[in-house]
């Protein structure tokens, strides 16, 4: 997927294999992975001559944003799908409490 994100144009299976130089992958393995990405909607493919060419459906940033939005979303349903560590506090309130904590810690140590 990183290869597709970095490429400007749609890539054929052979081109993707060529760019994955650090890993010695069989042509069919790369084809299977790309096919699976296309089925899940992460990659779009188009027929170009005899070979399929693949490109990323959305930019990496778009997916990161989707991931983070669903994680930070405050509305009810999402909350049960994943458990967030802390929901937002207003900045000033948290700063005040942190300062109080700092003072407490200082007193305890001193």
């Amino acid at each position: 997927m990183d290869v597709l994100w970095e490429a400007a144009d749609p890539l054929s299976v052979r081109e993707v294999s060529g760019l994955l130089t650090d890993r010695d992958l069989a042509h069919t393995t790369v084809m299977t992975v790309l096919d699976r990405l296309a089925k899940k909607g992460f990659a779009r493919r188009e027929r170009n001559g005899r070979a399929w060419h693949y490109r990323a459906a959305e930019s990496r940033e778009a997916y990161v944003t989707e991931l983070m939005l669903s994680a930070l979303d405050q509305t009810g349903d999402r909350q049960a799908a994943l458990a967030r560590f802390a929901r937002s506090v207003s900045g000033t309130e948290a700063q005040a409490l942190l300062r109080a904590l700092g003072a407490l810690g200082g007193a305890a140590r001193g």
């Binding site: 983070m68 939005l69 669903s70 049960a80 994943l82 458990a83 802390a86 937002s88 948290a94």
Partner: protein, 314 residues
């Protein structure tokens, strides 16, 4: 109307003020685990009693249990062609009540399934995205890191579980605070807190207009967090967890459009503050005797409606 049906109705109606009182009470914060158990019993007991009372009004026959009476009534309606066998007003009321009971039972089962399905779908999507985007980091062993500047830390419960930390959180917290966050999230995953919350999410989805359903959901959500805090405290000092909570909480909304934040932020601010205060000024847990009392109350809440449904007590 027979005595079992009256008791079922009383339990069903009584559960609502009981839930409101429990949501407002402060003792649950001293022993979140016991209170969570009581909430589960309250939810299950209400469901059994409400369905049982409605069906019971519709179809009690002397000498049989509520459940078997309803089956007998349905069977006889199927045989005689149903509606024409109830010409008088009492008969109509009983028929409507029976239908309402069966509808409520169907709705309760359906919303639980629907809520589970939507939760599983959202998790599936998260896993797919994470498999493309996330990577490990030695600072947070066992967790997945997503490169985004906003502070976020959460876990994906399930058979295939994951703890996710944003790059923003890694920058924000020191090593001790990160360890406290991981301990908290691991407690969620280990004890399947998502399953504890699921029935209340389902109730909230079914009864969006109900203040009680909303308060119950929020109260159980907060208790689950406090319970995970308690578990984390067995491994990490309270201070680390408290400062981690405040830092993540303060930076939390960074990447989210304000529209998404507006909905319930006021109560949620109070939640983080309540957790921090509880960490820094711990109150002693409830005594064993009180916990035993809470557990027996929970057991009673479930067994009485269940027994009235299946035992012939006329």
């Amino acid at each position: 109307m027979s005595a079992p049906v009256l008791i079922l109705a009383a339990v069903a109606i009584g559960c609502v003020p009981a839930a409101n009182a429990l949501a407002a009470a402060s003792w649950p914060r001293r022993s979140p685990a016991a209170a969570i158990l009581l909430w589960q019993a309250l939810g299950l007991g209400w469901g059994l009693a409400a369905v049982g009372a409605l069906i019971g009004i519709g179809a009690t026959a002397p000498g049989t249990a509520v459940a078997s009476g309803a089956f007998a009534r349905l069977a006889s309606m199927a045989r005689t062609g149903g509606f024409r066998s109830a010409p008088d007003l009492t008969g109509d009321v009983r028929l409507v009540s029976l239908a309402a009971g069966l509808t409520l039972l169907t709705v309760l089962c359906w919303i639980l399934l629907a809520a589970s399905a939507s939760v599983l779908r959202a998790r599936q999507r998260q896993h797919e995205l994470l498999s493309l985007l996330a990577h490990g980091d030695p600072k947070v062993p066992g967790a997945l890191v997503v490169d985004h500047p906003a502070a976020a830390a959460y876990c994906l419960p399930g058979l295939r579980s994951a703890i996710v930390i944003s790059a923003g959180t890694l920058d924000l917290l020191d090593a001790d605070e990160l360890a406290a966050v991981l301990a908290h999230e691991r407690a969620h995953l280990r004890e399947r807190h998502d399953l504890v919350l699921l029935p209340f999410l389902a109730l909230l989805r079914a009864f969006r207009w109900s203040g009680t359903a909303r308060r119950a959901y929020q109260a159980v959500g907060l208790l689950v967090e406090m319970h995970a805090d308690d578990r984390a405290l067995q491994q990490r000092p309270a201070r680390e967890l408290a400062t981690a909570l405040l830092r993540v909480g303060a930076a939390g909304g960074g990447g989210v459009p304000s529209g998404a934040l507006a909905a319930a932020s006021r109560t949620e601010e109070c939640e983080v503050a309540a957790r921090v205060i509880r960490l820094l000024r711990p109150t002693p847990g409830l005594s064993n005797a009180v916990v035993a009392l809470v557990i027996s109350a929970a057991a009673t809440l479930v067994t009485i409606p269940a027994a009235l449904l299946v035992l012939p007590l006329h």
